[in-house]
């Protein structure tokens, strides 16, 4: 089985779907000839032609709006927003149009649209290349929101997203495009090749949207993570030696409620981690879910490790980005309670 980076896995998913469904079209800024600023669509225009893979003007509301129009006719557009930080001009089309078309037309019109966007920090990108806006999407009824954390899931989830009958926001944690990231800002950049999740089967396969994965089974405490934070969790466990169960949510909406409840009922403790700002972040939703479903099993308060409630900094990036040390301290605190 070939080993792939996340970028290659995403490109492969698009290639597979472009080949087997003539309704699939791929477009966005710099996506066509050049193949995207992160190269996720490199070569696709050459293989599938300019009518299937093309460049757009710099207008995110146009990118999403064109996608809604095409999807409503039954095509399967998979569009790219260059950075999640630039989706805001398209947010009207996403939250008010794509998300609600099925419901408001009583299913006369639907919107099988996929909107891909790189998300998250850790790349010295400052406040306009580092944001994690997932909670803005999970707050919208009618959207699905997925966040793969490795090449295998990226390909399987993207194919599932393209085949999904409803709009899917596909968030790509850019820090781990080329390899897992364990929070050592100045140190090594480990590639994907040594990780089993980088073994990506050829051709079509799917990872079901709405299903979490247990990345590390454990009995002491449950860590709920997604995207880059899955690796921060692995590293915190390595540093503290605490027998934590790491759950990679993979899909935020719909959420794998059963997997979360099963784990927390077993461990009785829970820490939530994400890069996004804390207040009204997705961690608040997770903490509420756990509290409602597992209250009588809890032995310690649920903790949230998140980005601070400030704009994403440049110089102070590593004081902002949730580190394995911060998560480790939370794990130790939870174990003492």
């Amino acid at each position: 089985m070939p080993t792939m980076t996340m970028i290659e896995a995403i490109r492969d998913a698009l290639d597979v779907k472009l080949a087997d469904d003539p309704g699939v079209v791929v477009f966005g800024e710099d996506v066509g000839f050049f193949g995207g600023v992160f190269r996720c669509t490199a070569g696709l225009q050459k293989t599938h032609g300019i009518e299937r893979v093309f460049d757009t003007p710099i207008n995110e509301s146009a990118i999403v709006g064109l996608g809604v129009g095409m999807a409503a006719q039954g095509m399967k557009p998979c569009v790219e927003i260059q950075f999640a930080d630039y989706m805001y001009p398209g947010f009207d089309q996403i939250s008010q149009e794509a998300a609600r078309l099925r419901h408001r037309s009583n299913q006369q019109f639907t919107c099988p649209l996929v909107i891909r966007m790189p998300t998250g920090g850790g790349i010295y990108g400052g406040q306009t290349h580092s944001q994690s806006p997932e909670a803005l999407f999970t707050h919208v009824a009618g959207l699905k929101v997925v966040v793969p954390s490795n090449p295998y899931d990226a390909k399987g989830l993207l194919i599932a997203a393209i085949e999904d009958p409803d709009p899917v926001i596909f968030l790509e944690p850019k820090r781990i495009y080329n390899g897992p990231f364990y929070g050592h800002s100045a140190g090594e950049a480990a590639g994907w090749s040594s990780r089993p999740e980088a073994q990506v089967p050829e051709g079509r396969y799917t990872v079901e949207i709405g299903k979490a994965a247990i990345r590390r089974p454990g009995s002491a405490i449950t860590i709920l993570a997604y995207g880059t934070m899955v690796f921060i969790a692995e590293e915190a466990v390595r540093q503290t030696g605490i027998d934590a169960e790491i759950i990679d949510l993979r899909s935020l909406l719909p959420l794998d409620h059963a997997a979360i409840v099963q784990s927390v009922e077993k461990t009785g403790r829970c820490v939530v981690i994400h890069e996004a700002t804390r207040t009204s972040g997705f961690g608040a939703e997770l903490a509420a879910e756990v509290q409602e479903a597992c209250f009588w099993h809890l032995k310690a308060p649920i903790q949230r490790i998140t980005g601070w409630d400030a704009p994403y900094p440049l110089a102070a990036e590593w004081d902002y980005f949730p580190s394995p040390q911060r998560l480790g301290r939370a794990l130790i605190r939870a174990m003492e309670d």
Partner: protein
């Protein structure tokens, strides 16, 4: 009757890597043919200016036509100042690019080939006027005599940076030097410039505003919002469009569509518009002076398309050889702004090769000296961090309780 079938159009550049650069579709009008219009020109009457191109310097370096002498931009001291500004800008860009390559900063972005636009425009503004620049208008700061240490400190994100490492390198901010805080989100600030200018008019302060946008970002919603509101309220704003032919890897046709010029697009909103040779310092200076006079006199907004070419990569994260011919920049029909002004000044006998070389060496020394001092305050490879507690400063005027608690959680 011809019966056809709907088919989509996908614009692209005339040449790709491996091909020969081709600028045959670009019309370069003779310099000196367009008159200086009355200051109160309306959109309708500006049609020839929006379709043509105001140029002053001819190929031999002579300043020709009504714009050359009409606007007083031929004053020798002013011309030499312009050349020095552009030389400084170019050396600074080169030095900061090298610093990034050495790992001393995380990112850089040059304005090479576009120096004339910001340098000449800024010299026509007055204190109190406000630019709303993009990341490629550092030349405005140079011609505003912005302290070099502050400019470089921002690139190194050290304590010489007045914004204390908050933003990506090149996202400067200087209220005192008429440079509005840059946002990385394209287009947003174009309409803010109109709002600022409306406030100028409402408070009768005599100041004007200047919005800046790239050709690619004219596609953004806010470009259209800005032109519409400028047309409706007639505030004292100059809406600049820097058409450097590229937006990262996409050629300008992707933003222009089937329309002919960006100036024409502005005119469609009822805003008078001019198109100008942006690599001609004297044309930029003359048109800027005219536009400043018009807006400050209460005659309403004006849009200017500066026609130029992005000689360098989009940024240090980009490799243009992947999407355009390697030697395209060298073939750009409007030449290089520094070389053109230099030839003009030498032709007039107010500058010489020797003076040029000497000035260049002087500027280089001055810039390198400052750069070394600024690097002592910390670089990307050798950072001297701010207190992490700074993250919480300025989120609000007063630190709310939840941020105080988060700061404590952080350990400060």
């Amino acid at each position: 009757m011809v019966v056809g079938e709907a088919k989509l159009n996908f614009p692209g550049p005339p040449a790709r890597p491996g091909g020969a650069p081709d600028f045959s579709l670009i019309e370069v009008p003779e310099p000196g043919v367009l008159p200086v219009p009355p200051l109160d020109i309306d959109a309708e009457a500006s049609e020839p200016f929006a379709k043509g191109m105001i140029r002053v310097l001819d190929d031999a370096g002579n300043a020709v036509g009504p714009w050359a002498d009409g606007m007083g931009s031929l004053d020798p001291a002013h011309c030499v100042q312009g050349l020095i500004d552009m030389l400084r800008m170019r050396i600074i860009d080169q030095r900061l690019l090298n610093a990034q390559r050495q790992g001393k900063s995380s990112f850089y972005l040059q304005c090479t080939g576009e120096e004339a636009i910001g340098c000449a425009f800024q010299r026509q503004l007055s204190p109190g006027d406000m630019n709303f620049p993009t990341y490629r208008q550092q030349s405005l700061l140079i011609a505003a005599d912005y302290p070099l240490a502050a400019l470089m400190g921002q690139i190194y994100a050290n304590d010489c940076d007045p914004t204390e490492g908050r933003q990506l390198p090149t996202m400067h901010s200087s209220r005192d030097y008429g440079f509005f805080s840059i946002s990385g989100n394209l287009g947003t600030q174009y309409v803010q410039a109109v709002g600022w200018a409306m406030a100028n008019a409402l408070s009768r302060n005599g100041q004007i505003a200047a919005g800046w946008i790239g050709d690619g970002a004219t596609a953004s919603n806010d470009f259209h919002s800005a032109l519409l509101t400028a047309s409706v309220y007639q505030p004292p704003v100059i809406l600049n469009i820097v058409n450097n032919q590229w937006a990262i890897s996409t050629c300008t046709a992707i933003a222009a569509g089937a329309s002919r010029t960006y100036a024409e697009r502005a005119r469609g909103y009822g805003v008078p518009a001019l198109r100008v040779d942006g690599n001609d310092y004297l044309a930029v200076a003359a048109v800027s002076r005219w536009a400043v006079e018009r807006t400050r006199s209460g005659l309403g907004p004006v849009a200017i398309e500066w026609f130029t070419y992005r000689t360098a990569a989009h940024s240090t994260s980009d490799d243009p050889n992947a999407y355009r011919p390697r030697d395209e920049a060298a073939m750009w029909p409007l030449g290089d702004p520094v070389e053109r002004l230099k030839a003009h000044l030498i032709g007039r006998g107010i500058w010489s090769e020797q003076q040029h070389a000497q000035k260049q060496a002087e500027l280089f020394d001055e810039i390198v000296t400052t750069q070394k001092e600024v690097e002592q305050h910390g670089t990307f490879v050798n950072p001297r961090p701010f207190s992490p507690a700074k993250i919480f400063e300025g989120v609000y005027a007063h630190l709310p309780d939840h941020l105080r608690r988060q700061r404590q959680e952080m350990g400060y």
